[in-house]
């Protein structure tokens, strides 16, 4: 959005809880450079560096550059949830071990709690008794959150597709971003899937990189299970 298109009343509006107007920060680059150079001057800094980051979160919705910075951060620090269901979890362990150095791309910090995670890798077949639990884990993750369906079972039911206790793919319950196929997929395949997810988040390929909450809720209501 260029400065010309912004209505005047919008520019003069104050951001809630922020001591500045939108107009002051439309040129975010200049402002950030100013703040940073001030803090780097000798002697006691006038603006603490922390203030820059506090303002970043306010700016994220309007300033293009800041949004770019945040997208860059999201893309390169994906924290997967340590969550294995069945066979594919063994390959997930191999992914975390010595086979490929997955950390070089920024995703090896498997966390035990969903509250610290961005990516849920559904590795294994999903039984009907597991569905409410997986849903709950997904809801506990902080937005923006992404789902990778890892393996045939999570993609389409796999060899169990006609079993009475299995749902034919996790996409009946959760919005899936990337599918990795194979039975089980090699760890390299998960590596590729996460790279595709990075492309999606950074906007290199088409796709909703931020889903609204209402969209997720619709998805839940329409689920067949």
């Amino acid at each position: 959005m260029s400065e010309d298109e912004v209505p005047a009343e919008y520019l003069s509006r104050k951001v809630p809880n922020a001591p500045y107007t939108v107009e002051q920060f439309m040129n975010a680059e200049k402002e950030m450079t100013k703040l940073l150079t001030e803090s780097e001057k000798e002697g006691e800094p006038k603006t603490p560096v922390n203030a820059v980051f506090a303002k970043l979160s306010d700016l994220s919705k309007m300033a293009p550059l800041v949004k770019d910075v945040i997208t860059w951060g999201r893309t390169n620090s994906l924290w997967p949830l340590q969550f294995g269901l069945a066979c594919c979890a063994i390959e997930l362990m191999d992914f975390g071990a010595e086979r490929i150095d997955a950390e070089r791309k920024g995703y090896l910090l498997f966390r035990g709690t969903p509250r610290q995670c961005d990516v849920m890798i559904v590795a294994g077949w999903v039984t009907k008794s597991m569905v409410p639990r997986i849903k709950r884990l997904y809801e506990q993750m902080a937005s923006p959150k992404y789902v990778v369906a890892y393996g045939e079972c999570a993609t389409a039911g796999g060899p169990w597709w006609e079993s009475y206790n299995i749902i034919q793919g996790i996409d009946q319950v959760l919005p899936v971003d990337v599918y990795a196929c194979g039975c089980p997929p090699k760890p390299e395949n998960l590596f590729g899937a996460l790279m595709k997810l990075q492309d999606k988040i950074s906007g290199k390929v088409a796709g909703n990189n931020e889903r609204s909450v209402s969209e997720n809720m619709q998805r839940h209501e329409g689920a067949r299970v």
Binding site: S129, R133, P159
Partner: protein, 365 residues
């Protein structure tokens, strides 16, 4: 202090799958542990009844995804018994070699995850996966797939062994025998590991027999029982190997039994490689939907799987099983968990559960 009831799982980093435990704790002391299973149930036994005989091995492999080849072999052996098909001599050696390699891979993975659970000894995890990946690579080159090999055919294997199989196997065994002492350095001399395994979860000999546990859990309690010795199949009766037995029955002994089983497996493989004829014919019959008709006698086949004694009870129909019933070793081994966890500290639950080596897909079926 009041007794508090808490929930562990079904999604928990240390339960190795989706096992739910309901635990009553008084302070840090465990009063009751109640395992709840069934989160991976998909009705394997029922699905098998709808398929032809040789369509089922891929279902069987997914029972135990840490050692898939052993269930594959157990099922195919049951079908061979039902149809009366003999296994070629070269294929018998080849099967024993592959099964023992699978046992080594399974125990290595178990060792790595146990150490990783007990105080984040991540080095052991990395080393175990480094060694396991070498074994897996060999099995992959033999079968063509990385994890689910589906390598067994009626009377033999899927395809001839690679030309350099013998040399590669020997080199791999040498490597494993060379690296296993490293684990003694990092685990047996590790104060944290010893504190968390020695004297934890003691299973007496009587209880082990009464509960019906099998495999390394039974042998760690002082019972020398191994199907490879008591009811030898293939060429096991021609081979010289020990059945490792320990007598304390605690988590540490269960670790030691599995550790020594790895070394015994290398011995078995070395003997098989020297006894196997050079250009042995190992290829079995190709998969055909309509095969030789099975005899209508009831089949019971036993095998020593890496986790204990596996058993298939099958009522054969002509071209597909009429009924299959499985005895999975870990399902029985899980039954001692409540007994072992009575009165221990909360953190010891995971030491005990890890040492039982549970695979939830096999338990839930």
């Amino acid at each position: 202090m009041a007794v508090v009831r808490i929930n562990v799982g079904p999604v928990h980093p240390s339960t190795h799958g989706v096992l739910r435990l309901v635990v009553d704790v008084d302070g840090d002391t465990v009063k009751l542990v109640e395992p709840h299973i069934g989160f991976l149930h998909r009705g394997v036994e029922k699905l098998c009844e709808t398929r032809m005989y040789m369509q089922n091995p891929s279902y069987m492999e997914k029972l135990d995804y840490i050692a898939p080849l052993s269930w594959d072999e157990l099922y195919v052996a049951a079908v061979e018994q039902a149809m009366g098909i003999p296994v070629k001599e070269g294929a018998q050696y080849a099967r024993v070699i592959l099964l023992e390699f699978q046992r080594i891979a399974s125990h290595l993975l178990w060792m790595g995850t146990l150490a990783s659970d007990l105080g984040q000894m991540f080095t052991t995890f990395m080393w175990a996966f480094r060694d396991r990946s070498k074994v897996i690579k060999l099995l992959e080159d033999v079968a063509g797939s990385r994890m689910f090999y589906v390598n067994m055919r009626l009377g033999g294997l899927y395809q001839p062994l690679p030309k350099d199989f013998k040399e590669r196997s020997l080199a791999l065994i040498d490597y494993i025998e060379k690296t296993m002492p490293e684990y003694i350095e990092i685990l047996d001399k590790n104060e944290i590991f010893l504190e968390r395994t020695k004297g934890i979860g003691v299973l007496s000999k009587e209880d082990a027999i009464n509960y019906g546990v099998s495999g390394p859990v039974l042998r760690a309690s002082g019972v020398k029982e191994d199907v490879r010795r008591s009811q030898p199949y293939y060429v096991y009766d021609k081979l010289k190997f020990d059945v490792p037995v320990k007598y304390n029955g605690d988590s540490f002994d269960r670790y030691k039994v599995r550790f020594e089983e790895i070394l015994q497996s290398t011995k078995i493989i070395r003997q098989c490689l020297s006894m196997m004829p050079d250009d042995a014919d190992v290829v079995g019959a190709p998969i055909k939907l309509i095969g030789p008709a099975a005899k209508p006698d009831t089949i019971i086949t036993r095998r020593e799987l890496p986790r204990g004694e596996g058993l298939i009870y099958m009522i054969p129909d002509k071209q597909k099983p009429y009924r299959i019933s499985l005895r999975s070793p870990t399902f029985v081994n899980l039954s001692v968990l409540s007994k072992l966890c009575d009165g221990v500290k909360f953190a010891d639950i995971f030491s005990i559960m890890g040492s039982l080596d549970l695979v939830l897909a096999e338990i839930d079926r």
